[in-house]
């Protein structure tokens, strides 16, 4: 049974912790240098204990578990959900960091901070500033697709009505996004009472709605609003197969997620 979220700030905080934070895994995969080998656990939580996630770093990999950590090396405690949201949006907001403001584990703290700051590439406005390489575009596309699917899954689990509107009938449905030239993608799998997200293609059943981007450039342009919508469709840069009504519903949800995460 999903927990019902009581207020908008807490809902957004859940999305930041459960959909945005896990994306550090993708950033960690490609980073190198001495700090990349930092090890340890950082717990991020709200002061009232209602929400917590733990970021574990180990030999270059990053993994997020949505639970408290008894033996965390560093704890970041946010005053409330609003403070957490402001931090992730990039507004002035700092958590209380213990022990010793993280200085007891300097490499770990620096590594974590670097990864978290790296999440700012998800901001569409940042993505439109300056030229970026094809590889950078590809990384951002992967992150954005993972983000949006996880976010909608989390919102569905929180019984947020617009997300639950995806499952009005008793059917399991898969919404799939794919970048045709690289095979990168992500999916959202929903039932009336459950939801989950994943990267790549869901193999157990064919998608109910399948959005296919012709290539990385098309995906990047569409996801960062740097191209006209209908231009993309007319040129075949983006093709959607399946129910048009549900394609519209899910793209509306994506817009909602974007507004939620950018504070608009």
């Amino acid at each position: 049974m999903s927990a019902l979220v009581e207020d908008d700030a807490t809902l957004r905080a859940r999305v930041f912790l459960r959909a945005v934070l896990p994306l550090v895994r993708l950033l960690a995969e490609r980073s190198t240098g001495p700090l990349s080998r930092a090890r340890g656990a950082i717990e991020l939580s709200l002061a009232d204990g209602s929400l917590a996630s733990t970021l574990r770093l180990d030999e270059g990999a990053a993994h997020v578990a949505h639970e408290r950590c008894e033996r965390a090396d560093v704890r970041w405690v946010f005053r409330d959900a609003r403070a957490l949201n402001d931090f992730f949006i990039g507004r002035p907001s700092l958590p209380k960091i213990t022990p010793w403001m993280g200085l007891a584990s300097p490499r770990l703290s620096a590594r974590a901070l670097g990864l978290l700051l790296g999440l700012r590439v998800l901001d569409a406005r940042a993505s439109r500033r300056g030229a970026i390489t094809h590889e950078e575009q590809r990384l951002r596309v992967r992150m954005l697709l993972a983000l949006v699917t996880r976010a909608i899954a989390e919102l569905h689990r929180c019984a947020w009505e617009p997300a639950r509107a995806l499952t009005k009938v008793d059917r399991e449905r898969v919404f799939q996004w794919t970048v045709a030239d690289t095979g990168d993608g992500a999916y959202l799998r929903v039932r009336p009472d459950r939801a989950c997200a994943g990267t790549g293609a869901y193999a157990q059943r064919e998608p109910f709605v399948h959005t296919v981007f012709r290539d990385v450039e098309s995906a990047f342009a569409a996801l960062t609003a740097s191209a006209s919508q209908m231009e993309g469709f007319r040129g075949g840069a983006v093709v959607t197969h399946g129910s048009p009504e549900y394609a519209r519903k899910v793209s509306y949800l994506m817009q909602q997620v974007d507004q939620m995460l950018t504070g608009q």
Partner: protein
């Protein structure tokens, strides 16, 4: 027809694309283009509509040949009668309106002028079944085939995607005599490899080979059946999928061969199970004296509510999941364990 939750482009940021107008995105444009090509090749072709525009795909023809595009207004009996009259002068009218009105409202005109009179009219019933689900039961067409199958001399076609509809239209125009083409809304994914495939009036087409059970479908349910057949493979069931793009004259030989070879038949249609393909298959098999198990999926003696077509197909029990469950049930196969891992990956 549009979903009223469209978002204005000027108000969105980030993930901004939306499906603005599915008419621009579906391959169903193919048949509108095919009609224009046919009109160029044969000046006898005219179109007649009952005050419908883009949804009928006749607008392209009207733009190309304005003097040959007739609009009778919202008057479907008039629509068919006018078309029959035009056909009597040697023209080839292509008529298009919502299936439920084309057939039910104009029933007697279809029967007497087209069927009995054998007028060379091509009647396209669009948005058949629950393709216009949002219109509610008044706009659902679940009885058209039940009525039309009983009219002698009427060819009935039901293509399954935009490319096949274009090919079927060409075949219909080339055919001498009345033809009814049953069409949905064209959101089915059309296989580009089938784009230039000619349409032959009559034969059933095998879309997926199989030996344990046969699923017969037409229109939008063909792709539902294909997906169900692919899923059934994981349960060890080999499913033959037969697309029935011609409902009259019916390819009874292929139906009987499937009955003899697989012994289990499932019919699927976005139509009442009474009077449509389900009835046609059952009649065929019973008259041949073949003992097989038959299951009929479709509208079941109740009106479906207003809603999104895919949801209505699920509620009505003739979508991919329903077909898959029926395949397993009729073959007495336990379903494989579901994927119970709902963790984000």
């Amino acid at each position: 027809m549009s979903d009223s939750s469209d978002q204005s482009p000027s108000k969105v940021r980030g993930f901004t694309w939306t499906v603005g107008d599915h008419a621009l995105l579906s391959d169903s444009d193919a048949w509108g283009e095919a009609l224009v090509e046919a009109g160029r090749a044969d000046p006898r072709i005219v179109t007649v509509t009952a005050d419908l525009g883009e949804t009928t795909r006749l607008q392209a023809f009207k733009r190309a040949f304005a003097e040959r595009a007739i609009n009778v207004g919202i008057a479907e009996q008039n629509l068919v009668a006018v078309a029959a009259g035009l056909a009597a002068t040697g023209l080839i009218p292509v008529v298009c309106t919502y299936a439920t009105f084309a057939v039910l409202r104009a029933a007697e005109f279809v029967r007497t002028d087209l069927g009995y009179g054998q007028r060379n009219v091509k009647l396209i019933g669009t948005l058949a079944g629950v393709a216009y689900g949002q219109g509610g039961p008044s706009h659902h067409a679940a009885e058209d085939l039940a009525l039309l199958r009983a009219i002698p001399g009427l060819v009935i076609l039901a293509p399954s995607d935009g490319y096949e509809m274009a090919a079927a239209l060409r075949a219909a125009v080339a055919h001498e005599g009345p033809v009814y083409l049953r069409w949905g809304r064209g959101t089915e994914r059309a296989d580009p490899a089938r784009r230039d495939r000619p349409f032959v009036i009559g034969p059933i087409e095998e879309r997926h080979p199989g030996a344990d059970v046969t699923v017969l479908a037409y229109g939008p349910t063909v792709q539902e059946a294909e997906r169900a057949a692919r899923r059934a493979l994981s349960a060890g069931v080999s499913t033959r999928v037969l697309a029935v793009p011609t409902l009259a004259p019916l390819d009874r030989a292929t139906i009987l061969r499937a009955a003899r070879e697989t012994r289990r038949l499932i019919t699927v249609e976005d139509h009442s199970i009474i009077g449509g393909l389900g009835s046609a298959v059952a009649e065929t098999v019973a008259r041949a004296g073949i003992a097989v198990r038959i299951a009929a999926l479709g509208h079941r003696e109740r009106f479906l509510p207003m809603g999104v077509p895919e949801d209505l197909m699920a509620i009505g029990g003739f979508d991919e999941d329903a077909i898959y469950e029926e395949i397993l049930r009729i073959c007495r196969v336990d379903p494989p364990a579901p994927d119970d891992d709902w963790e984000d990956r």
